[in-house]
Symmetry: C2
DNA sequence: GTCTATACTTTGATAGAC
DNA sequence: GTCTATCAAAGTATAGAC
């Protein structure tokens, strides 16, 4: 084992934790497993995250940030807002099949207690995403932007679920086409 | 009080278990809680279900049966297959907001291990539903029935997720309208 | 002093015995 | 129906390596 400067301890812990949480679920992963995976001591983990709940919250916030970055990346590559919406769906379609679904959705399902911080953080994320998609839709010439944003969100939610269970050839395969149709229809309705 | 005839023991146990599982999640509910809810002895429960896993499987199979009955009920009330698809979405929209989402989806998220019986039962259900929706779509004059069935499934999945998190005024509010548009578009495409 | 590794305490669950 | 064996996991504390 090399020396331990460990300035990026937090990130390394989150890397290991996220990998395990994503694959096996939060409840199924014990703190000891994360420690074993890291090859570090218990002290270090509990120094950074004083409880499992806090670790889970950090994991969720990080997953939420990853989504933000996805949106930023898509918007940087694609010009028109209407194409950005479709491209977002395509991006999710590319990711979902290899995973167990959206980390935030899965963790939300694992923590039904409304008082639990993990529940609150994920719920907040869903509200943010909805507003974000509506905002994006408002930049298109859609007749009803809020409706369009909500429909894209519905498609993304369904895509995550279908894609992670039935795989890329399941119902998820139709998501991008559906998104395109939805965007087109809403813009056509405005042109009348 | 009459002696123990208990022909419906299984159902009574499942009633109590389903109620708790639906509201708090499977992992969060202990066998003792179910027993307390029933007011019965532990023996009785373990006589019917020799382990928690078996109880969970029975709970899932029962939830799957409930879905089948929903489909049957909708098909009995509504005539045309194209209307049946839309009505199914409307039915889910009516149920989802008061619940924590689809019991099968939630439990699936709680048991990521592919070897776990709960995982397998729920996965099987998703495959069945997909085939069922495609079959229904084949009875419509849709241009591409399989695509139509898949899109309805995607909408239902998204609806369950959105409806149970953001509530009936969230993105879920657009689901029925979207389903109607999708059905119409697919039938219009066939008329060309 | 900082990090690893391990032992220990407490809690809560399944499951079976009486 | 209560009582108990067993086990796993969250945290805490401590002993020891660099």
């Amino acid at each position: 084992m090399p020396r331990k400067p460990a300035p990026d301890t937090r990130e390394r812990i989150l890397d290991a934790a996220a990998d395990l949480f994503d694959r096996r679920g939060v409840h199924a992963v014990g703190m000891q497993q994360i420690i074993d995976e890291l090859g570090c001591g218990k002290q270090l983990l509990y120094r950074e995250f004083s409880s499992k709940d806090q670790l889970v919250v950090a994991y969720l916030e990080r997953s939420a940030r990853a989504w933000e970055q996805t949106v930023v990346a898509v918007c940087a590559v694609v010009d028109k807002p209407e194409d950005q919406l479709v491209e977002l769906v395509r991006t999710v379609q590319g990711m979902a099949p290899n995973t167990r679904g959206c980390p935030l959705r899965n963790t939300h399902a694992e923590f039904p207690d409304p008082d639990h911080p993990a529940h609150q953080v994920s719920l907040r994320h869903f509200q943010d995403v909805r507003e974000q998609l509506r905002e994006l839709a408002r930049q298109t010439p859609a007749a009803d932007p809020d409706k369009l944003g909500d429909r894209i969100m519905l498609i993304i939610d369904g895509l995550y679920v279908s894609g992670s269970t039935l795989g890329p050839t399941g119902a998820a395969a139709t998501a991008v086409g559906l998104a395109r149709d939805v965007v087109r229809a809403e813009i056509a309705a405005a042109a009348v």
